[in-house]
Symmetry: none
Subunit: 280 residues, 2 copies
């Protein structure tokens, strides 16, 4: 299993702040904190919130109260982002001003590259529940960022949008880091699937002993005709080749093959027959 | 910006069903529908929901009422997934049974590849609010899927988890499609190795006949003790669950099991023995 250094990921994510402008519903602030903490972000800046503080914030941010203590309240968006290097304004695709636009994923990748390689400070700015960011506010951003949605029903609320942005930030941080793989990480992590195993996978070399074994067993029980095997050996290779056996499964299957062989050649008897033996 | 054929994306996503098991809070069902619709999914299956119908579902699913009409209610998880080819069980990393585990992103990529290239039906199964899925339910899945979170505060609720899974499904569908990419396209289409099948894959329902067959065969040759099967049935499910058998392979393996059974109970004889018969 990939061992992710959670502390290091969070150290990087500490350089990404979430900025909420003129938020009306305290519940959205609470949900934002929870979404942030779940993904490892910690810095929330509120620009002139309508209602603050409020018990709904604490209720929805259950378990993330340490982030509540760190909230910064500022009067203007300028104040919220003045020490940032890279500012993203969130925007629906139907925005009215033309601007460099990134989807959430490449925006997060760009952000984490900027943090990890250049120690930059990043802000992602979210607008009002009802009408988002003004054109003036959007113009303060380096990029606009959008979350790809069903174009016929693109109604992510601000808490859901923050959830996805924070998720992408975490994914980008983990991807960007050269995570040390521990020594008993016996399975090779494939690039596409990154599947986690408790048992080491068998090697190609071991599988080259597996196929002759299953073929010999099948020949012995006359399921396979060695003189005319047709496609059977190929099918077995396709089947067990894509399964990627681990060591336990490998020995399990070879154990079954051996049992069938022993059953077939009479070197193994059923326990009932063995018990019969002395009586005979 | 990528020009995306929204209708085509949704056609693909229609093959991915979200399954919620024993959900307690109607609000979570409503939020799930909204998350699904936002990302273009449409099929929700509820396994024995605690409270249904309920006005909170309609309230939180505002604008997604067409999905409410399509909800399927079933009694068991088996019913929810029987016609599926690929079943994902959602699980925290601290799960107790070892199983092929994918993060949300590769799981979504695998799903959309299966849908687009092989017309497979996919299910992603979410458990109870308080205690998730049981080990028995998790054992029905081909893969377990997990959302990478802050390991010190991994408390995504079910609606948030569904939001992220649906988002990744949409992203994977868009990536996988041959969309015309214009010059400032920010998203790269990954070139994943793709497996093409000449044979249809078997469904979950067919596999539920496969496991009793192999277990019966192994019990008959006393490789498995039905009174004390230990982890063997689980290991077989894990192994053949992730292999995704096609129809040919399915019949091939079941043919081998039947041969071994016939060999064991004496209803099948080796040809040499059969030839000996007349001479005796």
């Amino acid at each position: 299993m990939n061992i992710i250094d959670n502390a290091a990921v969070q150290q990087h994510l500490a350089h990404v702040r979430i900025v909420m402008v003129n938020t009306t519903l305290p519940a959205n602030i609470g949900s934002a904190l929870r979404a942030m903490k779940t993904m490892g972000l910690c810095k929330l800046v509120l620009v002139a919130p309508k209602t603050y503080p409020h018990p709904d914030i604490d209720a929805l941010a259950a378990g993330a109260s340490d982030l509540i203590d760190q909230i910064q309240i500022v009067e203007t968006l300028e104040d919220a982002i003045k020490d940032c290097h890279l500012v993203f304004g969130t925007s629906a695709r139907t925005r009215t001003i033309p601007w460099p636009l990134l989807d959430a994923r490449p925006a997060a990748q760009k952000s984490m590259q900027a943090v990890i390689e250049d120690r930059q400070e990043i802000a992602v700015v979210f607008g009002r529940e009802d009408r988002g960011l003004t054109n003036e506010e959007l113009a303060l951003a380096n990029y606009h960022v959008t979350i790809p949605v069903n174009t016929e029903y693109g109604v992510l609320n601000v808490a859901q949008a923050i959830q996805i942005i924070c998720y992408e930030m975490r994914m980008a941080a983990v991807e960007h880091m050269d995570t040390p793989v521990d020594t008993d990480a016996t399975m090779q992590v494939t690039d596409e699937e990154s599947m986690h195993w408790d048992e080491p996978l068998v090697t190609h070399e071991q599988m080259e002993q597996f196929y002759p074994h299953i073929e010999k067993m099948l020949a012995e029980i006359e399921f396979l005709d060695p003189k005319n095997p047709r496609l059977l050996p190929l099918r077995l290779r396709r089947l067990f080749g894509r399964i990627q056996l681990d060591r336990m499964e490998y020995h399990l299957l070879r154990g079954i093959f051996s049992r069938v062989q022993a059953l077939n050649n009479g070197t193994w008897k059923k326990s009932a027959e063995k018990e019969d033996q002395p009586n005979a």
